[in-house]
C-alpha cells in the first residue's frame, strides 16, 4: 500500500479546472516530486491534501485513510505537514516559539494545566524546548532561538519553516518550492537537508521549479500541465519526455 494515494482528484474554481482527474501515489521513504509550469495546479494539490480546499471530485488516502474530509489541523495530527510557497512564519514570535508551535500536536497541556503550571506541564515544556533546540541545530539555526522570525534572512526563514514542519514529527512532509529565491550555495545546502530528512525515515513530496534540485534528489517525478498529469516517471525518463519538453519550452 502506498503511503499516499491520490485518486481521480479534480479541483474546480468556478469555470477554472485547476486540477483535472489526477491520480498519483507516494511510496513510503521516497522523495517524490511534482513539477510543472506556473499555474499548472501544483500548489492546489497541496491545498487539497492539507484540507484547505475540498476537492470537486476524487479523493486522497493517507495510509489507507481518506483525508479529504479532514480539517487542516486534523491532517497535521495524522502525520502530514507542509511548508508554504510564500513563507508563512509567525513573524513577531521568536524562532524557538515558531518551532514550539510546530510541535503543538505532540504536546498536551490545556487551559487549566497551563494556568496552574502543574508539574506535567513544566516537564512537557522543558522537553519540548530541548527538542526544539535540537531541531534548530539540525537545520543549522542554532543560536538564533531568541530572534524574531521576521528578522531572519530569507534562506534561514525557509529553513525555519522546514524545521517548524518537522516539529510535528510528520511521516509525510510536503515542501512547496523550498528552493525558491535561494542562491546556489543555499540550494545545495537545502538538497543535502532534504536527503538527510529522508534518511531519517520521512517521506517527502516536493514541489519545485529548480530542475537541478528536482533531477538530483527525486526518486520519481510527476509533471502537471494545465492541471493534467502529462508524465510520471524517473527523473531521467521525464527529462526526455516529449510532452514535458513541449510544456516547458513550447512547440518549436
Amino acid at each position: 500500500m502506498p503511503l499516499l494515494e491520490i485518486k481521480n482528484l479534480t479541483m474546480r474554481f468556478g469555470g477554472l479546472t485547476a486540477v483535472k482527474n489526477l491520480t498519483m501515489t507516494v511510496e513510503e521513504g521516497e522523495i517524490r516530486s511534482l513539477i510543472g509550469p506556473n499555474g499548472a495546479g501544483k500548489t492546489t494539490v497541496f491545498n487539497v491534501l492539507t484540507g484547505i480546499y475540498q476537492p470537486s471530485k476524487g479523493n486522497a488516502f493517507f495510509q489507507g485513510r481518506e483525508i479529504c474530509s479532514l480539517r487542516p489541523y486534523q491532517v497535521t495530527s495524522i502525520g502530514i505537514t507542509r511548508t508554504f510557497q510564500n513563507i508563512r512564519l509567525f513573524g513577531n514570535m521568536t524562532v524557538l516559539d515558531n518551532i514550539l508551535i510546530g510541535m503543538h500536536t505532540r504536546t498536551r497541556s490545556e487551559l487549566l494545566a497551563s494556568v496552574l503550571k502543574v508539574r506535567a506541564t513544566r516537564t512537557e515544556e522543558a522537553e519540548a524546548r530541548d527538542q526544539a533546540r535540537e531541531l534548530l541545530q539540525f537545520v543549522g539555526l542554532a543560536g538564533k532561538e531568541q530572534e524574531l522570525a521576521r528578522n531572519l534572512p530569507y534562506g534561514q526563514q525557509r529553513r525555519l519553516e522546514i524545521a517548524r514542519a518537522l516539529g510535528a514529527d510528520p511521516k509525510l512532509l510536503l515542501l512547496d518550492e523550498p528552493a525558491a529565491g535561494m542562491n546556489p550555495q543555499e540550494t545545495s545546502d537545502l538538497m543535502e537537508l532534504i536527503t538527510t530528512i529522508r534518511a531519517m525515515g520521512r517521506t517527502i513530496l516536493l514541489i519545485e521549479h529548480d530542475m537541478k534540485v528536482v533531477m538530483n534528489i527525486s526518486d520519481r517525478v510527476a509533471v502537471l500541465d494545465y492541471g493534467e498529469k502529462i508524465a510520471d516517471s524517473t527523473p531521467q525518463e521525464v527529462q526526455k519526455d516529449e510532452k514535458v519538453v513541449k510544456a516547458y519550452l513550447g512547440e518549436g
Partner: protein, 298 residues
C-alpha cells in the same frame, strides 16, 4: 489613609484593568476584534447582582457564578461568530452587545430602564486588588504556555496556525470564554461597588472605552493593558482636578489626548513588549555610559 475620592478611583482602575486584560487576550493576543466586551461585563454584573439581591447568596460565590454565566455566554456567542473574520466579527460582536443591552432594558428581573437597585456594598479595595492580581497572573501564565502560543499564532497567521495542527476555532472560542469570564468578574465588582446597575452603562461606548485602553496600552502586551487601563481611567480625573479652567471641556481634551497618543505611538504605549524592572535597569545603565554585561534586547 487615602481620600475616598482616590479610593474610588483606584477601585475603578482595578476593575478597568481586569476588563482590559480580558479584551487584550481576545483582541491583542488572539487577534479577534471584539466590540462587545461591555456586554460580558453587564452579564456578570446583573447575574451576580440578581443572585445577591433576590436569592441572598453571599457575594463571593455570586461573583464567581456571575463570571461563569458570562463565560458560558462567551462560549455560546463565540462558537458561531468566531467563524467570521475581521470586520465581520467586529460587527457581530457589536450586534450581540446591543441585543444584550436592549434585553436587560426590557426584562423585569433586571429592573428594566430603572436599573437594578438595592445591592449591598460588598466590593472593597482588597477584593478588587486580589481579583486584579489573579487576573494578571492567570493571563500571564496563559500567554506563556502552549495555549497562549497557539492563540498568538492565530493572530500572526491563521492559515499557518491551522497547518501546524492548531484547532483555530477552539482556541479562539477559548480566548473569548476566558476574556468573558474576567469581564464577568469586573461586572460583579462594579455592581457591588456602585450598588446600582443600568443597561445604559454597558453600551457600545463602554466597549469602545475598554478597546481604547487595550489599544493605547499596546495590543498584545499584558503590562500595556494595565498601563492603558490606568491611564484612561485617570486621564479625565486628572484633567478635571489639575486644570480647573478646562474642566468643562475635559472630555474634549481626553479625545485630543487619545488622538495625539495614537499619532505619536500607533503601536500603543508598550507596543507588544512587556515592562520589566530588569530592562529599565539596563536602560538606565546604558544611558549613563556604563557597559552592562548582560545585554538587553533593545
Amino acid at each position: 489613609m487615602i481620600s475616598a475620592y482616590y479610593y474610588n478611583l483606584l477601585i475603578l482602575i482595578g476593575i478597568n484593568i481586569i476588563l482590559a486584560l480580558g479584551l487584550n487576550l481576545i483582541t491583542g493576543y488572539t487577534g479577534q476584534l471584539s466590540l462587545g466586551h461591555a456586554a460580558f461585563m453587564s452579564v456578570g454584573g446583573y447575574a451576580s447582582g440578581i443572585l445577591t439581591v433576590k436569592t441572598g447568596i453571599p457575594f463571593l460565590p455570586a461573583l464567581v457564578i456571575g463570571a461563569l454565566v458570562a463565560a458560558a455566554l462567551g462560549f455560546l456567542v463565540g462558537l458561531p461568530t468566531l467563524r467570521l473574520r475581521g470586520d465581520y466579527l467586529a460587527i457581530a460582536t457589536l450586534g450581540f452587545g446591543e441585543i444584550l443591552r436592549v434585553t436587560f432594558l426590557n426584562l423585569e428581573i433586571t429592573g428594566g430602564p430603572f436599573g437594578l437597585r438595592g445591592l449591598a456594598k460588598e466590593t472593597n479595595g482588597l477584593i478588587v486588588f486580589i481579583a486584579t492580581v489573579i487576573a494578571l497572573v492567570v493571563i500571564w501564565s496563559l500567554i506563556n504556555s502552549r495555549v497562549g502560543r497557539a492563540m498568538i499564532a492565530i493572530r500572526e497567521d491563521e492559515v499557518a496556525a491551522e497547518a501546524m495542527g492548531i484547532n483555530t476555532t477552539r482556541y479562539k472560542v477559548l480566548a473569548f470564554v476566558v476574556g468573558a469570564f474576567f469581564a464577568g468578574i469586573a461586572g460583579g465588582l462594579y455592581a457591588h461597588w456602585f450598588r446600582y446597575l443600568n443597561p445604559a452603562s454597558f453600551g457600545f461606548m463602554k466597549s469602545i472605552e475598554i478597546l481604547c485602553m487595550v489599544v493605547l496600552g499596546g495590543l498584545g502586551s499584558t503590562t500595556g493593558a494595565v498601563v492603558g487601563a490606568a491611564t484612561l481611567t485617570y486621564a479625565p480625573e486628572f484633567l478635571r482636578s489639575f486644570f480647573p479652567v478646562i474642566s468643562e471641556y475635559r472630555m474634549l481634551f481626553y479625545g485630543a489626548l487619545l488622538v495625539v497618543l495614537m499619532l505619536l505611538r500607533p503601536q500603543g504605549i508598550m507596543g507588544t513588549s512587556e515592562f520589566s524592572p530588569l530592562k529599565v535597569y539596563h536602560w538606565i545603565r546604558s544611558r549613563q555610559g556604563v557597559k552592562t554585561t548582560v545585554g538587553s534586547d533593545s
